[in-house]
Structure formats: structure tokens, C-alpha cells
């Protein structure tokens, strides 16, 4: 009986490297997906972006230089994909960054007329940053609060804080004024901190 070569039996160094990368891609995939979801705000679109990024990573595998970790390199590919998708969505008019300078009720509620905090909205300590970051619950609440954030606030916040773009770059991407970008980020941060504080410290379902 003719024996077909068993791919698993191939222990050449090249094959081992490929196997290792495949393992690492599937390990990092959930993290890529939650990153894409926070930016694109749609599960199916995020799935597509991650799939494209993974395929591109496999195709361009030889161009990985090793200067960063393999996972960081894959994340870089995903970031480009996300920006491409956002540009396309914007071109097609599928989403429009809000330019409105109107007051934001959710923020007005946090302050008195005089500009002081409302008593119940006064921020309290979340504890040491390192401990906060290592707390799983914090990230669950963070994600939940990002989901309920209005579209423009969430997208600008993600581009600034998760993608690490400068406000100047964000203005160019979204064709908004830089001052508008600062207003949006201020609102996003105030809403997020309030939501996280309620959801995390009190343990309320959000």
C-alpha cells in the first residue's frame, strides 16, 4: 500500500517555524478580535478584519523581521486593516464623525451649574494602576462601557488610546478639526470614567 507523507512527521526547521507561528496566531486571535471590535463596533466586520490580517500575516510571513515580537507584528497588520476599513466606511458614508458642539447631557449631569462635581458624580480612587490592569473584571467593565459609548466618542477614543494615533493624525483620518477632537476625547474620557466607576466599584450590571 502506498504511504502518503504525513505532514505532521515533517520536522524540518521551516515546518516547525510555521507550526509555531500558526499556534501563536490562534493564541492571539481572541485579543485581535476584541481590539478590532472596539474600533469597528460590529462583530462581523471585526471578524473579517481579523481574518484578513491573519491571512496577510501568513502570506507575508517571510517579511517578519524579528525586531518586535511576532504578535506585535501581527497587531500592526491588523491596525492597518482597521484604518483601511474605517476609511472605506467613511467614504461610503456608512458613518460620519459628529461635528456637533452641543452640550452633552451625560456630562452635564456630572457637574453642577457652577462647574463643580455633582456630589454623587465625584470621582473616587480605583486603587493602584498596576492592580487595576491585572484585574479581569476591570477589562470586562471597560469593554462594556466602550460598547455603550456613542459611536463617534468610542471611535475617536479607540484611535487615540488603543491605536495610539495623535490627535493630529485622527483629524486627518476623520477630517475633523483638532479642537473638535479634543472636545470629543474629553467627553469620551468623562463618560468612560463614570461608567467604569459605576460598573466596577459597585459591581452593578451595566
Amino acid at each position: 500500500m502506498p504511504t502518503t507523507p504525513d505532514p505532521a512527521a515533517d520536522d524540518s526547521p521551516h515546518h516547525e517555524k510555521t507550526q509555531d507561528r500558526m499556534r501563536r496566531l490562534s493564541a492571539v486571535r481572541p485579543r485581535l478580535l476584541s481590539f478590532a471590535r472596539l474600533h469597528l463596533r460590529n462583530h462581523a466586520t471585526a471578524e473579517d478584519a481579523v481574518q484578513d490580517a491573519l491571512e496577510a500575516a501568513i502570506e507575508k510571513s517571510d517579511s517578519f523581521s524579528g525586531h518586535s515580537s511576532y504578535e506585535t507584528w501581527v497587531f500592526g497588520i491588523l491596525k492597518h486593516k482597521i484604518l483601511d476599513i474605517m476609511r472605506t466606511q467613511k467614504r461610503l458614508g456608512q458613518w460620519q464623525p459628529l461635528e456637533d458642539e452641543n452640550d452633552d447631557d451625560a456630562i452635564d449631569r456630572q457637574f453642577q451649574q457652577s462647574g463643580q462635581w455633582q456630589r454623587e458624580a465625584r470621582p473616587v480612587s480605583w486603587g493602584e494602576p498596576e492592580a487595576v490592569f491585572e484585574n479581569e473584571r476591570f477589562w470586562q467593565v471597560f469593554d462594556a462601557c466602550m460598547i455603550v459609548l456613542p459611536d463617534t466618542l468610542a471611535r475617536v477614543f479607540s484611535l487615540r488610546e488603543l491605536m495610539g494615533l495623535s490627535t493630529e493624525q485622527i483629524c486627518q483620518e476623520l477630517a475633523i478639526k483638532e479642537s473638535n477632537c479634543w472636545v470629543i476625547l474629553h467627553r469620551a474620557r468623562l463618560r468612560l470614567r463614570s461608567c467604569i466607576e459605576q460598573g466596577w466599584l459597585t459591581g452593578d450590571a451595566i
Binding site: 492571539v28 481572541p30 485579543r31 478580535l33 476584541s34 481590539f35 515580537s69 504578535e71 506585535t72 501581527v74 497587531f75 457637574f111 457652577s114 462647574g115 463643580q116 462635581w117 465625584r122 470621582p123 473616587v124 480612587s125 480605583w126 494602576p129 487595576v132 490592569f133 491585572e134 479581569e136 477589562w139 470586562q140 471597560f142 469593554d143 487615540r160 488610546e161 488603543l162 491605536m163 495610539g164 495623535s166 490627535t167 477632537c181 479634543w182 476625547l185 474629553h186 474620557r189 468623562l190 468612560l192 470614567r193 467604569i196 466607576e197
Partner: protein, 67 residues
């Protein structure tokens, strides 16, 4: 003397652009007097680092729990 609401604008913008010195001064003064704003500032700084949660080289975020 700036109020809390204005202070939160400055502490937010401080993360996106260099503040001018009068802004820096009034923010610093306000933060030294106001415990709530001091906490708010720490929270903004924490949110400013939230990208670290996705850093593949830091295992601070368990992806399984965010599905």
C-alpha cells in the same frame, strides 16, 4: 481659579497636546486643592494607558473573558 469642569478639560487635553504654562499652572493648583479632580486625573491617565491591555507582550488582559 478654574472650576472642576474646566479642570477636567485641561487634564484631558494634557494627554493630547502640551498645555500652555498658564493652563498648566491653574491645573496644578486646582489638583492640589481638589481630591475629586485628583482622582479624575489619575483615572484619565489610566485610561490613557488602556492600549497596554492589548499589548501582546503583556498578559494583563485575558482574551477569553472578553468574548
Amino acid at each position: 481659579m478654574i472650576m472642576c469642569r474646566r479642570a477636567t478639560e485641561l487634564m484631558s487635553q494634557r494627554l493630547d497636546r502640551p498645555l500652555r504654562w498658564p493652563e498648566r499652572l491653574s491645573l496644578r493648583f486646582h489638583l492640589s486643592m481638589c481630591g475629586a479632580c485628583y482622582q479624575c486625573n489619575r483615572q484619565f491617565e489610566l485610561l490613557h494607558r488602556s492600549g497596554e491591555g492589548f499589548d501582546p507582550d503583556r498578559k494583563v488582559r485575558d482574551p477569553a473573558s472578553t468574548q
